[in-house]
Symmetry: C2
Subunit: 480 residues, 2 copies
């Protein structure tokens, strides 16, 4: 196959632009990043390897846990899109737990201030962001362009234009990789010396099922539904059209052990009985056996920048499992944070990307770990008494001291506190509660000791009296 | 640049061969692997990207901590090379610690059975192994062949012959990647779903220095010399020609902070005063400022095999920092272990490589972690009183119960116990010692209580007597 190769430099409008930027990836984080950089006055070109999703027929895509919360909303607000996005989103005020017998229990996310997280369609949100991106002056959105290689020495990247079968080499003042969990730009960074990196697949996979709109109204609205089953679970998030996206998370082994229709249906009627009629037996069997379960990946990097121009953000920098609903929110926060650092450094890109690595690393490592931990919470802990008691104590203290006592989920989903501080805050709260418990125990112990002491001293006193009277009697006898 | 491309299949001598094997990498582990497979009756082809080191002039290479111990020796013994290798090695019976004031203290590795580890030159050992490998019937050693790509679907690999500028595609029944810490084959494995992986650079680097043979005799022979300095250290290993290879391990920051000759010499005369005359001021300055410190990498993978034919071993599968002297030994043990599994599975390669992953993973993860931990021990703990007391207790118990009480270093370096069991053994020993300590404490406490009780009961008895006599006196007075 013959291939042309051309070399291009993005032309900057010297009069108005602050500089040129390239964003690799036109997914959620990439498109938002284009908007934010363009709003700062950069001339931005975006390269996305797939075709324009606004022009293609709807394809079944990843949609698990697209839950928009405060961090994502703050970033959208920066470019004036918060309201528009929320219009197309469905508020979820809490978790609705489905037990095996079919009865349900609601656990509100924020019973004190009644705040919600929002279920939002990936495609809808991506469309809104791409539409906004191309309205900025100086932005160019190019689709079907796949990143081929990164040349660190020359500060260039090479992309393959699928349509023209042409390779182009481009450069810019700032080159951002927002090319997802399997990032090509990160692959290049990874070969650098001193770049520590880990990719961790958990032993569980996920499979998407669906409750169609005609049966969707039987589900209680405005909740994230969970069927917690100890070591695995199923969840359902509402869609705008009344249907629900259901996701089954289970060990791969378990997925592969259900090999016949009968086994699958028995499993569902035993484990998720109330979901069977909602999903539909026929649809369940069809979807289950025509799709492979997908893996769940967590990625951590020791740095996000490379050289003077390259930066990775979003899933490329910190893919996480979806159990805290923070993947997209953390990616959006990356964009807002980059904007803030560019403000602080007065658009000195070299300094900005170095600061980004230095100050953002701990935060995203914490949220990756929290996301892994939250699987245990969602599968199992939500149903335990300890969890419920702690949630209750947290809510009371949040009500009494809203500025002092912010529970972990609250600080992650309903605040802009640094992720690192969220977990430190939780450790501090654990320490307090542990010590209060210990103090109560000591107090009880002391009361017990005091009671015993009281009893014993009475006994000794009585014994002394009786001893004294015996001696007196003996003396009297001796003297008689 | 034009490139030819040919497709070759390794020809197997059907009459005598058990099957065909390809080994990528002709370093220590690769060459040993060729010998072991050839000795089993495989027709083996080895591809090494560099030229044949036996034909090139000596090049300064990596040499840190090439300490041969029991595991490596056992693997060499399999192919009858143990004696030959030990002939060219220098026994080291213990660590010789150099304190800041210049005085030294010896800590034997095995004061009970007087076992040694052996300092061996990388090039010497590699030559011995390559010489042995090419003597087997059916082995072909090809140099200047660089792995280009791996085709999992077709079970082939493509290599580039640097000399002919030809690409060749080969296949075999078993394809082994022994291509080192930056393994190209592992890069392909890493892109597989469910392949978890981590690469971790520590914040310290190393720089090789040297004590020439003319001054080498001033160093006490048959020891691994260490200058432990809390958060960093320098070590020296003896070479066959009387010279010493010195390695300075330090944070990169510290390396970069010494920018002038004066700073470097002041640092050495303050921190490693007795080494300055041995290394030589001129040589130190020259080597220090003409070389960059090298990084130290630790690599962990969740699996070592891919498909039905591919396996990675040695540093490609588990690169580790050099502080336990187990990098080469663990790689050699991989070869011996593969040999054992091939025996067990009667050369069923698919089963063998699956078993290899399943049963070897925990062991190599443990030794990677131990190697990281041992840096702290070598830099700091060796000089502490707790370490010395523990070492002393361990040695006494080893002497008394050689089959029951095997100290950690002993089990790693002087036994063939699985690495995983070595660490479990240590945890069990820690538990015992902690409980003995606790029992001693309780015993002491009880003795103390008994003494106090004895004292108090005497006092109460005397008090009662005096009380009794007082009462008697009072009675007498009242009755008078």
């Amino acid at each position: 196959m013959e291939m042309n190769h051309s070399r291009k430099t993005i032309k900057e409008n010297k009069e108005t632009s602050k500089g040129t930027a390239v964003v690799i990836g036109g997914g959620l984080v990439g498109a938002l990043c284009v908007c934010i950089l363009a709003s700062r006055g950069y001339t931005v070109t975006m390269y996305e390897k797939r075709s324009d999703l606004r022009k293609s027929a709807f394809t079944r895509g990843r949609s698990i846990n697209l839950a928009l919360s405060h961090r994502g909303r703050k970033a959208l607000k920066l470019i004036g899109l918060e309201t528009k996005v929320l219009e197309g989103a469905i508020p979820m005020k809490g978790r609705l737990l489905h037990c095996k017998r079919g009865n349900t229990a609601a656990v509100l996310y924020d019973p004190v201030n009644k705040q919600n997280i929002y279920s939002v369609g990936r495609n809808y949100l991506n469309q809104v962001l791409l539409d906004a991106a191309e309205k900025y002056e100086g932005t160019t959105l190019l689709f079907s362009h796949k990143l081929q290689s990164v040349n660190l020495m020359e500060n260039t990247i090479t992309l393959w234009n699928e349509k023209t079968n042409e390779n182009i080499t481009v450069t810019a003042d700032l080159i951002i990789g927002a090319d997802g969990a399997f990032s090509c730009m990160r692959n290049y960074m990874q070969k650098q010396l001193l770049f520590s990196y880990s990719q961790k697949y958990i032993e569980h996979g996920y499979l998407e099922l669906s409750i169609p709109r005609e049966r969707g109204d039987k589900m209680e609205k405005n909740h994230l539904h969970i069927w917690p089953r100890g070591t695995f679970m199923m969840i359902a998030l509402p869609n705008q059209d009344g249907s629900w996206t259901v996701t089954l998370f289970m060990p791969f082994e378990k997925f592969h052990s259900l090999t016949t229709q009968a086994e699958l249906l028995t499993f569902f009627s035993d484990i998720f009985p109330d979901s069977l009629d909602l999903i539909g037996k026929k649809e369940l069997v069809e979807t289950y056996f025509s799709n492979e379960p997908s893996p769940l990946l967590s990625v951590k990097c020791s740095q996000f920048h490379m050289g003077d121009k390259f930066l990775i953000i979003g899933d490329a920098a910190h893919a996480m499992v979806p159990f805290y609903g923070q993947g997209m929110n953390a990616g959006f926060e990356d964009c807002a944070y980059l904007n803030k650092i560019l403000d602080q450094t007065k658009d000195n890109i070299k300094d900005a990307i170095e600061i980004f690595t230095k100050t953002r690393k701990d935060d995203v490592h914490v949220i990756c770990d929290l996301a892994l931990y939250n699987y245990t919470e969602m599968c199992d802990l939500v149903t335990t008494r300890t969890f419920k008691i702690r949630k209750c104590i947290d809510n009371i203290l949040l009500k009494l001291m809203p500025d002092t006592w912010m529970p972990l989920y609250h600080s992650v989903s309903f605040s802009h506190m640094r992720y690192r501080d969220c977990i430190e805050n939780r450790h501090w709260q654990d320490w307090i509660l542990k010590n209060v418990k210990f103090a109560c125990f000591i107090l009880l112990f002391m009361i017990l000791i005091a009671i015993i002491w009281e009893y014993l001293s009475d006994a000794i006193f009585e014994q002394n009296i009786s001893y004294e009277s015996t001696v007196i009697k003996q003396c009297s006898l001796r003297n008689q």
